[in-house]
């Protein structure tokens, strides 16, 4: 350690590998003082000007703000607030192009200056040494200070370090060509900078403070030396000019001989580095309560008539800066934000400058050609000679072009600081840094995807487990239920007996059905049999549906009367059609009934697609149910007509039964319908089985017809009842049921919409094929 200090004191520096000596081009702006420029008409402030997260807005459009007033805030450690650079009105807050090579839009705040430049109330700090460390760090954070050397890392995080700090290095190197912002700042404001360094000294308590300045800035060196003459532990280090000495790792190597290992931060070596402009801003913030609202920007390049350093308010549009320095528009406009080595071309000149903008470079086409003269790599190896990170740019280039991401990671692509020295020396003019940036972005993306894939896999596995568990539970439940049922059945209780008989009745019914269909198969075509089966099944299904619909109907909406009438019309038509058909055979009538039902359904559906949503809902819903009902009634009516000739007596019986059933409330009728159906069937069946075994088949046929009759009669009664009730309820329904039905309407509306869509799609498909 002492050897390092002794060497530093003697001015014996280390050397880092590589580096280049491009023409410095600082003579454009080097001998002019920092100028104040006119206020722009508008300030474009991106909400995020640093590495980290943007804060939340605390102003809105139309607010009047004072100079220095915070515009965003956040308690997230990586968020840094922005402040109003001048007093004015917030004109707009929306996405706009920002100073980023992609040209993408980011949220920006547009501030219209009012020309008064009124400050907010500031509280000056007499003696910052009376504040605690955390208080000062909070002040720095609230002043919106991020690293102004180019990276934009939130300063308060860098200062909030735990380990012992051996070296605090102040970076005044400014190695990049053209840029003289830090040079002029050091010359003009050396005292404030040294104040800022003293504040950092107070927070970090380093053992040594080194201010690094390249030897091409003699005035700045003198100024800083004078300003820091009274400080014991500040050492001004004059280092040889080389690009990129100002890089963090390179400067650490130059001054202390230590190398920051791959993936580590300098503070693991006990070193903290800050730029001189950041120190200046820290001093202003802590002592004068001035937040970060302006910075020195070098406007230079041969296309600018008056190249100079200017004090630019943050958010000043680049165009305004250029106009102030008398920029001459070029045939092919080429504007660079930053220096020629590490800057990026601005896709759009109407962007606001941000905290990390240290230079606007407007070269002529001859000065910095923007042509693509790339040719093949000749494997000269010059790039490896100049790389300050001791990488192999040639290998990286081959693998980057071949997209060999494994090899790139092996060759330490992520240690590349993108300084551009390799691209500068390449005789084939290959834009190496561009390829590395693409490769880095791609690798980062792949790493993100891998993480995502792992997460997705874990979720998928978890889901599979969950479904398997649920399945086992379900099966367990079924098994237990089955066992319980079996146990109940086998016990000698009355319920068990009735259950058994119910099961037996059901089985008998099934057998009867089978026998009936078998009988009919002998004497008719197979198609009609299927239809017969379907219709008989449909009838029972229809009856059940009607029961369900009835249960629901107590909640449905109004306007059903119309619908009922409408649906009755086609139903009636269908019925008349049916009656017109000279159907002698009951089966043919049933077939016709089925067809008619289908037709009626279609008609009503078509009608309802034309009407509005709510009515659609009601109509489709009720139409489905009511069409089913009238059709069923019509169909069964014909059947009953045929069979009534045979069984008038029994029908009278069932009619009487149906009447009392119909007189009860709707819900009960639903249940009662279901129950009496079964029980009557039951009784009938048991009667038959008890009485006449010889006539069993006939009786079964009779009973099945009777069942149909029963159902038909019941349906008829139910329909009539429904009609009556609806007529009575139309007025009430409007008032009472809207709320309940609203939701159902919407649901039904949505389903209907989707159905309509699907129908349309089907139609389109049919048309296309």
């Amino acid at each position: 350690m002492s050897s390092i200090i002794s060497r530093i004191k003697k001015g014996q520096w280390w050397k880092f590998h590589g580096g280049i000596h491009p023409p410095q081009q600082k003579h454009f702006t080097y001998n002019k003082p920092i100028r104040n420029i006119a206020m722009p008409e508008e300030l474009i402030l991106p909400l995020k000007q640093h590495i980290g997260q943007k804060g939340e807005l605390i102003v809105s459009v139309g607010d009047k703000v004072l100079k220095g007033q915070p515009l965003t805030q956040s308690h997230h450690p990586m968020a840094v607030p922005i402040h109003a650079p001048t007093s004015g009105t917030v004109k707009a807050i929306h996405d706009a192009p920002v100073a980023h090579p992609s040209g993408f839009n980011e949220p920006c705040l547009f501030l219209e200056p009012d020309g008064n430049d009124t400050w907010k109330k500031r509280v000056l700090c007499e003696n910052y040494q009376q504040l605690s460390h955390q208080a000062i760090i909070d002040k720095i954070a609230n002043a919106g200070i991020a690293g102004m050397g180019g990276a934009g890392f939130p300063s308060h995080i860098k200062l909030n370090t735990k380990p012992e700090i051996e070296f605090l290095i102040i970076n005044g190197a400014e190695c990049e060509p053209y840029i003289t912002a830090d040079d002029l700042l050091m010359r003009e404001h050396c005292n404030t900078i040294v104040e800022g360094i003293k504040i950092l000294d107070y927070i970090l308590k380093p053992q040594h403070i080194l201010i690094a300045i390249e030897d091409n800035k003699p005035e700045a060196i003198k100024a800083i030396q004078q300003a820091s003459a009274n400080e014991n532990n500040i050492q001004v280090c004059v280092i040889p000019t080389k690009y990129p000495t100002g890089g963090e790792k390179q400067l650490i190597k130059t001054l202390t001989g230590q190398e920051v290992p791959h993936g580590a931060l300098p503070n693991s070596l006990g070193i903290v580095m800050q730029n001189v402009a950041t120190c200046f801003a820290i001093a202003e913030a802590v002592i004068d309560d001035i937040p970060l609202i302006r910075r020195v920007v070098t406007v230079t390049g041969k296309a600018v008539e008056k190249p100079q350093n200017v004090w630019a308010l943050l958010g000043t549009p680049v165009k305004h800066l250029l106009t102030q320095c008398q920029y001459q528009p070029q045939p092919k406009e080429h504007l660079i934000m930053g220096g020629p080595m590490m800057g990026f071309s601005l896709p759009n000149s109407y962007v606001g400058i941000i905290k990390t903008t240290n230079c606007i470079l407007a070269p002529t086409a001859k000065e910095i050609p923007n042509e693509d003269n790339e040719v093949e790599c000749i494997r000269c190896g010059q790039c490896a000679d100049v790389c300050p990170s001791q990488l192999l740019p040639q290998e990286l280039q081959w693998h980057a072009k071949a997209k060999n991401y494994d090899q790139l990671t092996k060759y330490n692509l992520f240690d590349c600081i993108e300084c551009g020295a390799c691209a500068y020396v390449c005789p084939s003019q290959i834009p190496l840094v561009y390829y590395y940036r693409i490769a880095k972005a791609e690798i980062r993306y792949q790493q993100q995807q891998e993480l995502k894939a792992e997460k997705a896999k874990a979720r998928f596995e978890a889901r599979k487990k969950r479904l398997a568990l649920e399945k086992i539970k379900r099966e367990e439940k079924h098994r237990k239920a089955a066992e319980a049922r079996r146990a109940a059945m086998n016990s000698n209780s009355a319920e068990a007996q009735s259950a058994k008989s119910a099961v037996a009745a059901a089985l008998a019914r099934a057998k009867a059905k089978k026998a009936q269909t078998a009988e009919q198969q002998e004497s008719s075509k197979s198609q009609e049999n299927i239809v017969e089966k379907n219709t008989s099944d449909k009838k029972s299904a229809v009856a059940a549906a009607i029961a369900r619909a009835k249960a629901k109907k107590s909640k449905t909406a109004p306007k059903v009367e119309e619908v009922v009438e409408k649906t009755n019309k086609p139903a009636k038509a269908a019925a008349t059609q049916q009656e017109a058909v000279p159907a002698v055979d009951s089966k043919k009538a049933q077939v016709a009934a089925a067809i008619a039902r289908a037709k009626a359904k279609k008609e009503t559906q078509n009608k309802t697609t034309k009407t509005t949503k709510t009515t659609k809902a009601d109509q489709t819903k009720s139409s489905n149910t009511t069409t089913a009902k009238p059709d069923a009634t019509k169909a069964t009516k014909t059947v009953t007509k045929k069979t009534a000739e045979k069984q008038k007596a029994t029908s009278k019986k069932t009619q009487s039964k149906a009447k009392p059933a119909a007189s009860t409330t709707k819900k009960v009728t639903a249940k009662a319908k279901a129950a009496p159906k079964r029980t009557t069937a039951n009784q009938k069946v048991t009667k038959d089985t008890k009485t006449n075994d010889n006539e069993k088949t006939n009786n079964i046929a009779v009973t099945s017809a009777e069942n149909a009759e029963i159902k038909a009669q019941k349906i008829k009664a139910a329909v009539a009842k429904a009609k009556a009730k609806k007529a009575a309820e139309t007025n009430d329904a409007n008032n009472q049921n809207t709320q309940e039905s609203d939701k159902k309407q919407r649901i039904a509306a949505a389903i209907a919409k989707a159905k309509a869509k699907k129908q349309q799609l089907n139609q389109q498909q049919q048309e296309s094929t």
Partner: protein, 193 residues
């Protein structure tokens, strides 16, 4: 001692099995697309060659020769080589599953590597004694490994380079192998024996 040294140098450089004798070209072309695979393959082949030449010498001198069955050497040596390769495969599978996977089919194909059988037979025809057989086998393997690794490094670079389309792939690999062979023939006259 110097004899053995000369034998070794001669086998590795002067009479390199791959580039001068043109034996063992199959794995030479097949495994040399990546340096890691090449290194793995060279270890496996060295092990096989040395052990196979040792065992074949033993089989020949203690079983076949005393019984006058020298005409069976081809079959016997193949048997020995197959067993050694199978053994190597099992060992590699156990120790380094990734190497086993990357070598894939080429590991059992060492059996058909004519360099291995060639070493065994050449040992017989040149009537080497026990130590000479081992050194000959080892030298052949070292020569094979040297050339294989060099070639794979070159092929890796070629994969990224801008090769004209008619030459891409195996074509440029063959040309490179030919040029290497020319280069190695420059070693002729290095050792006189």
């Amino acid at each position: 001692m110097t004899d053995y040294l000369l034998l070794l140098v001669g086998t590795v450089l002067v009479n390199n099995f791959v580039l001068v004798k043109f034996l063992g070209l199959c794995p030479f072309m097949g495994v040399s697309s990546r340096v890691e695979t090449a290194i793995g393959m060279s270890f496996a082949t060295t092990f096989v060659m040395t052990l196979a030449s040792l065992l074949s010498y033993l089989v020949n001198s203690y079983i076949l020769a005393p019984l006058g069955l020298e005409y069976l050497i081809t079959m016997a040596f193949i048997l020995v080589i197959a067993v050694v390769v199978q053994f190597t495969e099992v060992v590699v599978h156990k120790t380094s599953a990734s190497l086993y996977r990357t070598l894939g089919i080429f590991l059992p194909l060492i059996t058909t590597n004519c360099a291995v059988l060639g070493v065994a037979l050449l040992n017989f025809y040149q009537q080497h004694n026990f130590f000479e057989s081992i050194i000959y086998g080892f030298g052949a393997a070292v020569g094979f490994s040297l050339v294989l690794i060099m070639f794979s490094a070159m092929r890796e670079k070629l994969a990224n380079a801008d090769v004209p389309t008619p030459f891409k792939g195996p074509a440029i690999a063959m040309i490179t192998a030919g040029l290497m062979s020319l280069a190695f023939m420059g070693f002729t006259g290095l050792v006189k024996f």
